[in-house]
């Protein structure tokens, strides 16, 4: 089924109704396996003890936080370039999810930082750039809310998302230049990961679980948004008829 076929919301809703239970089940299984491996199988760190378990939530949230902006960027291109009718629905549904993952990343990070660094928050490069990402998610959500007409809001948000996609790497680079204390990237790097497989495997399973969770929640949120717009249209028609 091509992407253009999904331009028909009814067809999309039918697809969601079929796919959603499967995705939710897969996410539940991946979480069960991932959490079991992360909490019971993976060894404690010889320095950090059991607090290293926070990583299995923290790192996938950070990945998803960035992944959501990537998804919103593609949706923004869909809105502006291809005028795909569901692109702005996808973008709107992704923004709160991205904000939630970013918040989860910040929250687990500060709970982890307290015993390890001695402070809930330090003005370190990576923490700061994730905080900026969180602020930009909140800005996008706010922009969705202040413009009443959904299609006008969609185009404004799409431009903001694209500008953000150009700016986020620059912000990240400049903030890293400004100060850094956080450890450098150790999974996705040239020369292979520096993490031992006993920790890397559960981490990747958790990452898969997070991606499945995102897909489940995203499709559900898109379905809700389509239904919400239908209700809005029906209300407008009703008000006109009355």
């Amino acid at each position: 089924m091509a992407l253009i076929d999904l331009a028909n919301p009814t067809r999309f809703l039918n697809l969601v109704a079929r796919v959603l239970p499967l995705l939710a089940g897969a996410a539940a299984i991946a979480f069960a396996v991932g959490l079991y491996q992360a909490l019971l199988v993976a060894p404690n760190d010889y320095q950090q003890g059991a607090t290293v378990k926070i990583m299995f939530i923290h790192v996938p949230s950070a990945w998803l936080a960035m992944f959501c902006w990537g998804a919103m960027t593609i949706a923004a291109l869909g809105t502006l370039v291809w005028r795909h009718p569901l692109a702005d629905v996808a973008a709107k549904a992704a923004a709160p999810l991205g904000a939630a993952f970013t918040f989860l990343c910040l929250l687990t990070g500060s709970l982890w930082g307290r015993p390890m660094w001695g402070a809930y928050w330090v003005w370190d490069g990576r923490l700061t750039s994730v905080l900026v990402l969180f602020l930009m998610y909140l800005g996008v959500i706010a922009l969705w809310r202040v413009v009443e007409d959904p299609s006008r809001a969609a185009r404004a948000v799409a431009i903001l998302t694209l500008v953000g996609a150009i700016n986020l790497p620059i912000i990240k680079f400049s903030v890293d230049w400004w100060a850094t204390l956080h450890q450098p990237a150790s999974v996705l790097r040239l020369g292979g990961p520096t993490i031992h497989p006993s920790i890397l495997v559960p981490l990747l399973v958790m990452a898969l679980a997070f991606v499945l969770l995102f897909l489940t929640l995203h499709l559900a949120a898109m379905r809700n948004e389509i239904l919400r717009r239908r209700v809005r249209t029906l209300r407008l028609l009703q008000a006109r008829g009355a």
Binding site: L80, L143, V146, R152, A153, I159, N167, W178
Partner: protein, 222 residues
């Protein structure tokens, strides 16, 4: 070219005659700089240390807060429709409007900064560094700010949200501007690298700002 020149002259004339563009911006800058010692105390050593940061923050807020009505005012009196319908590319018209705004708001801030630096007891080298970084950096602030100003046409009841959208985008400019200015005071880092990156950020924003703002205007006016 002629039309763009006329637009530049018109915008500068409006800024000078109505709404008191430049003096109000400088006055706001002065007030921000005056408020800081009340907040952190009249310790000159401390103020000297954080002086470039205060001046940069003041200039950032003054140049961005003055910007929100740039297109909204033109939208209300209909001249934005004329600009959209004219044969001049909208991106160039946006760039010219931003340039006019910088000349009437940003440049006075750069000129006022050395005077305000005296309040913060900066030495001549630091004053020179702050003025130079502001001269290189304030165009970036204006050209990033025009994106927010273009959203103001779509977002009628805007207000604070435009600042919320635009301020995170100005973080790199602030980082490298203050870093370059601080090298004259502390810092083992030489002045060159952060200043060069600041100039690069300005050049990038000169490109991205007009295109993004023009796109936002086109979609906002539909």
């Amino acid at each position: 070219m002629n039309a763009l020149g006329a637009l530049l002259v018109r915008d500068m004339r409006i800024a000078v005659r109505l709404g008191g563009g430049a003096p109000i911006g400088v006055l706001f800058f002065l007030i921000v700089v005056t408020l800081v010692p009340f907040a952190v105390g009249p310790d000159l050593a401390l103020l000297r240390r954080i002086g470039p940061a205060i001046l940069w923050l003041g200039a950032l807020l003054a140049s961005l807060l003055a910007l929100d009505r740039l297109f909204a005012a033109d939208h209300e009196d209909g001249s934005l429709d004329l600009i959209l319908m004219s044969r001049v590319p909208l991106e160039l018209a946006v760039a010219v409007k931003a340039l006019a705004h910088w000349l009437t708001t940003g440049l006075p801030l750069v000129i006022a900064a050395p005077v305000l630096a005296l309040f913060l007891d900066l030495d001549p080298a630091a004053i020179g560094a702050v003025a130079l970084t502001l001269l290189a950096g304030t165009p970036a602030l204006t050209f990033i700010g025009v994106i927010g100003a273009a959203f103001a046409v779509t977002v009628r009841r805007g207000g604070l949200i435009l600042a919320v959208l635009v301020l995170p985008l100005t973080i790199p400019v602030l980082i490298f501007g203050v870093a370059a200015a601080n090298t004259a005071i502390v810092g083992p880092v030489p002045f060159g690298p952060p200043f060069t990156i600041l100039c690069a950020l300005t050049l990038m924003s000169l490109v991205i700002g007009p295109f993004a703002a023009a796109a936002a205007l086109r979609h906002g006016m539909e």
